[in-house]
Amino acid sequence: MAPDNDHDHDHSHDHDHDHDNHLSEMVLRVKALETLLVSKGLVDPAALDAMIDAYETKIGPRNGARVVAKAWTDPAYKARLMEDATAAIAELGYSGAQGEHMVVVENTPTVHNLVVCTLCSCYPWPVLGLPPVWYKSSAYRSRAVIDPRGVLQDFGLTVPDGVAVRVWDSTAEIRYLVLPERPAGTEGLSVEALEELVTRDTMVGTAKVTAP
């Protein structure tokens, strides 16, 4: 067994090394393109910095968590959210790129919703930020529609047979946000404390919100 193990080790080591070389090549290629584009006056490097800062610090799943916690605690807001999600989400200051037309789908004791984009990786950026690697993976994009219950098992979530699974394939410019179920035992929590419970995956539909 020992020689085989050594071989495996060497192999994976080489593979990692190739991977690192490949990534450092990307660093150089991206830098070269940016330098060319800046020299031609096609892009402003300060605008690139501002764009990156927006998605690293301003636009992410905490936005969606605010929407969810408000819907849980404000029935009139929830009604507006289910009727016209784009407008209701804009009330909290979130709008625009990759969330121009929003729809909210609600999880209940009998319905579990799951969002995917089988054709690319469409995702509701204003409320969830940029998509995680797994959402963009071939595995998720291929299986979410044909085997959603198996995909949920990959996340450790078992949906009982009696609960209907609804998969939303984002094939147009409508973007979907799952309104997860508010867990029992959270009646006394503040809106801020509720927001803390709402994770990204609960708003894509690959997890349930759990009480603290």
């Binding site: 020299s39 609804r166 984002s170 410019e173």
Partner: protein
């Protein structure tokens, strides 16, 4: 096009592997690529549908091998070359063609957040009447266009039910070719999982897609 990007229902890609505490970008170059592609988009030389098609037309083996941001990088170059913003020679040498005057970028730092907040809505006003009402049984057309389309293979020929009418939206199949927005009604269509995948699917499960009127027939 019947491309490798149309992945719904394929087997063989293994389990989904979530990453704990995943960063927004795994390396700084990924953020630069995102920002470069969007900043180039501000020149309005192409649209989102043409942008998607530029990724779908990467060679299939490259598409499967590349990460998301590698695909965005390859796409940014294809789009910029195609629009004449850069030349092959400039790309090879890394040096700008001195005979072309230096331009002024349309997207400056102060315009980034307003541009993000505004986005690019695809809803359009129309005087046309919707062909289908919620509850109507429809069948996705069995079509195989060689250009860009948002009708996935796994629903073509299958019967579903109109769930919701979203009004008229820009039609990607024509917009991707710069042949006009051709706005037409967009519907959420519900397909029973058993209609798509057969008897092994859970009887209560369903898949919902947003499909344009031109993709649908009366069932």
């Amino acid at each position: 096009m019947n491309g490798v990007h149309d992945m719904g229902g394929m087997h063989g890609f293994g389990p989904v592997e979530p990453e704990a505490n995943e960063p927004v970008f795994h390396a700084p170059w990924e953020g630069r690529v995102l920002a470069i592609r969007r900043a180039l988009g501000a020149w309005r030389k192409w649209n989102i549908d043409a942008g998607r098609h530029s990724i779908e037309t990467l060679p299939p083996a490259d598409y499967l091998r590349m990460s998301y941001y590698e695909k965005w990088f390859a796409s940014a170059i294809k789009l910029a070359l195609g629009a004449g913003l850069i030349t092959e020679r400039e790309l090879e040498t890394g040096q700008r063609d001195p005979s072309v005057p230096v331009k002024t970028p349309p997207l400056t730092a102060d315009k980034v957040m307003p541009a993000i907040m505004k986005g690019s809505p695809t809803h359009r006003e129309t005087t046309a009447r919707p062909r289908f009402a919620p509850g109507k049984a429809v069948r996705a057309r069995e079509i195989n266009p060689t250009g860009h389309t948002r009708l996935p293979r796994y629903v073509r020929g299958r019967q579903g039910t109109i769930e919701r009418d979203h009004g008229a939206h820009v039609f990607p199949d024509s917009n991707s070719k710069f042949e006009g927005e051709n706005p037409q009604y967009l519907y959420t269509v519900r397909f029973a999982a058993r209609e798509l995948w057969g008897e092994s699917a859970n009887p209560g499960d369903a898949v919902y897609l947003d499909l344009w009127e031109e993709y649908l027939d009366v069932a």
